[in-house]
C-alpha cells in the first residue's frame, strides 16, 4: 500500500484511537482530581479500615496495577490483535468509571462502599495499563513509515487533554449546580461530584461504537495471515536477551525521565501552586488549564520534527532543559505568590471572628478569618480555627490554619507563562515517545514490549513524583523546592543513559 493510500484512512484511525484514549485518561484523572471529595464520601478518616482502603486505592491503582495491565493486555494485544484488546480496555475503564459514580456513600451502605470503590479503581488502573500501548501501536501500524511521529503525536496529546477536560468538567460542575456559589460547591461535594463520572459513560459509548467499526491494524493482519504472530509474547518480550535489553533501554534511557518530566510539569506544578504557593482552588486549576491549552499544539510540532531529525535529541533536550531550569522556575512560582515580598495595605485588613458552641459541651469552635490586601492586587484569606475552652488557661496546642491567595491578573498570567514552559518540556519529551517506542520493537511483540516500559516509566517513576516530592518537603521542611530533587535526579540518570546508549534512528523501512 502506498503512503498516500495509508494517509487517507489514517484520520479515521487517529480519531477513533485518540477519542478512546482521551476518555480513558479523563476517567483516570477525575478520580485523582476528586480524591478529597471521594474520600469524604467513601473513606471517613475516623474509620481506620476505610482510611486504609483509601490509601490502597490511591497507591495501588497507579503504581502497581498499571504495569500489570500493560502485561495482561499487552499479551492479549499481541495474541488476538490490537483492535479487540483496546476495545476491551475501553469497556472496562468506562464501566468502572460509571460504576464509581453510582456507588452509594459509606453512610448508606457501610464498608461495601469503600471496597467497591477500591475494586473499580483497580480495574481502572488495569485498563489504563492496556490502553495506551494499544492505541499507539494501532495508529503507528496504520501510519506511513516516515510520518509515524506526526501521526502518533495525536495520541500523545490525549493524556494532557484528558487532564485538561477533567479539570474543566470538574470546575464547571462545581460552579453551575446553583446560582449561589457557596450552595453550588456544597451540592457538588454532596452529590454533584458524580456528574463527571456519569458524563464519561456517554463518551465511552460513542467511542466503543466508533472503535467497533474500525479494522484491525494492517501490519498485525499481515502477520496473522502469514501465521507469524507470537505464541508467547511475554516470553519473547522478556525472556530473550535481544529484546529484554531494548525493554530496559526504553525504560532507563527514555520513559523514566519522560515520566518524571510529565508529572512534574503538570501534576506537581498544580499541587505546588495550590499547596506550597497557597493559590486558591479555582486559580490553581485554571492556571494549569491555560498552560495546557497553549502548550498542547507543541506535542504535534516536536513529534513532526522527530520524523525529520530523529526522536532521541528532542526527548533528551526536554529532559536537559527541565534539569537545568526546574529550580529557577519553581522558585519563581513561589516568589510570585509570596506575601512577604509584597506590601500589604494594612488599612484594608478585615478580621472576622465567629464562635460556635460545640453541642453538649461548654467549649466552642473559634474561627478567625483575616482578609489582607496587597498593593499589587493580590488578596489573601487566612482562616485560623481552634477550640475556645471554657476552662481558663487551656488553649489549643496547634490551631488549624488555612491560607488561600487570589493572585492579581498580572501575577496570574506570569504563573500561566511558567506553567506553559513546564508543559513545553512535557511536549518535548512526550511528543515523539510513542513513535520511538513503536520503532524499538518488532510487530509480533510490540504491544507487550512497549507497554511495560511505558507504564513503569509513567505509572511508577512519574506517578510517584507528587508523593515523593511532597515527602521530601516534609523531611526538609525549610526548603520549599526540595521536592524537585527527585525528578531532577531521575531525569539526569535517564539523560546520561539516553545520550550514551540510544540511537537517533529515523527508520525509513519499518514493515517488519
Amino acid at each position: 500500500m502506498s503512503d498516500q493510500d495509508k494517509t487517507k484512512g489514517i484520520w479515521k484511525v487517529i480519531g477513533a484511537s485518540s477519542l478512546g484514549t482521551l476518555i480513558e485518561w479523563y476517567d483516570f484523572y477525575i478520580f485523582g482530581s476528586l480524591a478529597v471529595v471521594i474520600a469524604n464520601q467513601f473513606f471517613p478518616k475516623t474509620n481506620p479500615t476505610a482510611a486504609l482502603l483509601s490509601t490502597l486505592a490511591t497507591f495501588a491503582a497507579g503504581f502497581i496495577v498499571r504495569p500489570f495491565g500493560a502485561l495482561v493486555f499487552g499479551r492479549l494485544g499481541d495474541l488476538v490483535g490490537r483492535k479487540y484488546t483496546f476495545l476491551l480496555t475501553l469497556v472496562l475503564m468506562g464501566g468502572s468509571t460509571f460504576a464509581i459514580g453510582c456507588i452509594p456513600s459509606y453512610e448508606s451502605i457501610g464498608f461495601i462502599a469503600p471496597i467497591l470503590v477500591l475494586v473499580f479503581r483497580l480495574i481502572q488502573g488495569l485498563a489504563l495499563g492496556g490502553e495506551y500501548g494499544g492505541a499507539a501501536t494501532y495508529v503507528a501500524e496504520h501510519a506511513p513509515v516516515n510520518r509515524r511521529g506526526y501521526f502518533t503525536s495525536w495520541i500523545q496529546t490525549t493524556a494532557t487533554l484528558g487532564l485538561f477536560i477533567s479539570l474543566g468538567v470538574i470546575l464547571m460542575t462545581r460552579h453551575f449546580l446553583d446560582a449561589d456559589q457557596a450552595k453550588s460547591i456544597a451540592k457538588f461535594n454532596d452529590w454533584g461530584w458524580r456528574i463527571p463520572f456519569w458524563i464519561s459513560s456517554l463518551l465511552v459509548l460513542v467511542s466503543i461504537y466508533i472503535r467497533l467499526r474500525m479494522a484491525e491494524s494492517p501490519m498485525y493482519t499481515k502477520l496473522k495471515s502469514e501465521g507469524k504472530t507470537s505464541v508467547n509474547p511475554l516470553k519473547e518480550s522478556f525472556g530473550h536477551k535481544a529484546n529484554l535489553k531494548m525493554v530496559l533501554l526504553a525504560l532507563f534511557g527514555a520513559t523514566m525521565g519522560q515520566g518524571v518530566v510529565w508529572y512534574t510539569g503538570q501534576f506537581y506544578a498544580q499541587s505546588f501552586i495550590e499547596n506550597v504557593c497557597k493559590v486558591e482552588f479555582d486559580q490553581s486549576r485554571t492556571i494549569l488549564i491555560w498552560g495546557i491549552l497553549f502548550a498542547t499544539p507543541f506535542f504535534v510540532v516536536f513529534a513532526t520534527l522527530s520524523d525529520k531529525i530523529g526522536r532521541k535529541w528532542i526527548m533528551l533536550s526536554g529532559m536537559f532543559l527541565a534539569i537545568i531550569s526546574y529550580n529557577y522556575l519553581f522558585t519563581s512560582l513561589y516568589n510570585i505568590a509570596d506575601s512577604k515580598q509584597k506590601t500589604e495595605i494594612v488599612a484594608n485588613t478585615k478580621i472576622e471572628t465567629t464562635i460556635k458552641v460545640i453541642p453538649n459541651s461548654t467549649d466552642s469552635i473559634r474561627k478567625i478569618v483575616t482578609k489582607s490586601y496587597f498593593t499589587d492586587g493580590m488578596s489573601m484569606v487566612n482562616t485560623k480555627t481552634d477550640t475556645a475552652y471554657s476552662t481558663s488557661g487551656k488553649i489549643t496546642k496547634k490551631p488549624v490554619v488555612a491560607i488561600s491567595k487570589t493572585l492579581s491578573s498580572s501575577d496570574y498570567w506570569k504563573m500561566v507563562g511558567i506553567v506553559f514552559i513546564l508543559i513545553l518540556y512535557v511536549t518535548l519529551v512526550y511528543g515523539p515517545i510513542a513513535a520511538f517506542l513503536v520503532e524499538l520493537f518488532p510487530t509480533k511483540i510490540r504491544y507487550t514490549s512497549m507497554s511495560l516500559p511505558y507504564h513503569i516509566g509513567n505509572g511508577v517513576f512519574g506517578g510517584l513524583t507528587p508523593f515523593i516530592a511532597t515527602l521530601l518537603t516534609t523531611i526538609y521542611v525549610d526548603n520549599k523546592i526540595v521536592g524537585l530533587m527527585y525528578p531532577i535526579i531521575i531525569a539526569t540518570v535517564c539523560l546520561v543513559i539516553g545520550a550514551v546508549y540510544i540511537s537517533n534512528r529515523i527508520d525509513p523501512e519499518v514493515d517488519q
Binding site: 482510611a51 490502597l56 529484554l244
Partner: protein, 87 residues
C-alpha cells in the same frame, strides 16, 4: 563510545544496590518515625515497585558491561526474530 558504554555499565551495577539500600534505610526510619497503616502501605508499595526496578537496573548495567549495547538497531530490518535467540 563503546568503551564508555561498558565503563558506565559498572556505574549502573553499583547504583542498583545503592538505590535499594537507600530505599530500605529511608523506609525503616520513616516507619519508625510515623508508625501506622498509611506509612506502612506507602513504603510497602515503594519497596515492592522499586526493588524489581533496581534489579532491572543492575541487569541493564550488566548488559552494558558485556557489550550488548555496542550496536543498537538502526533500521527495522534489524529487529530480529527473538524466538530463535533465547536469554
Amino acid at each position: 563510545m563503546n568503551a564508555l558504554k561498558k565503563y558506565l555499565g559498572l556505574v549502573w551495577i553499583v547504583l542498583g544496590p545503592l538505590a535499594i539500600h537507600y530505599l530500605l534505610q529511608t523506609a525503616s526510619s520513616e516507619i519508625a518515625k510515623k508508625p501506622g497503616n498509611d506509612t506502612m502501605i506507602q513504603w510497602g508499595v515503594f519497596i515492592t515497585v522499586f526493588y524489581p526496578i533496581a534489579i532491572g537496573f543492575i541487569l541493564f548495567g550488566l548488559y552494558a558491561l558485556e557489550g550488548n549495547y555496542d550496536h543498537i538497531p538502526e533500521k527495522s530490518a534489524e529487529l530480529v526474530d527473538y524466538e530463535s535467540k533465547p536469554l
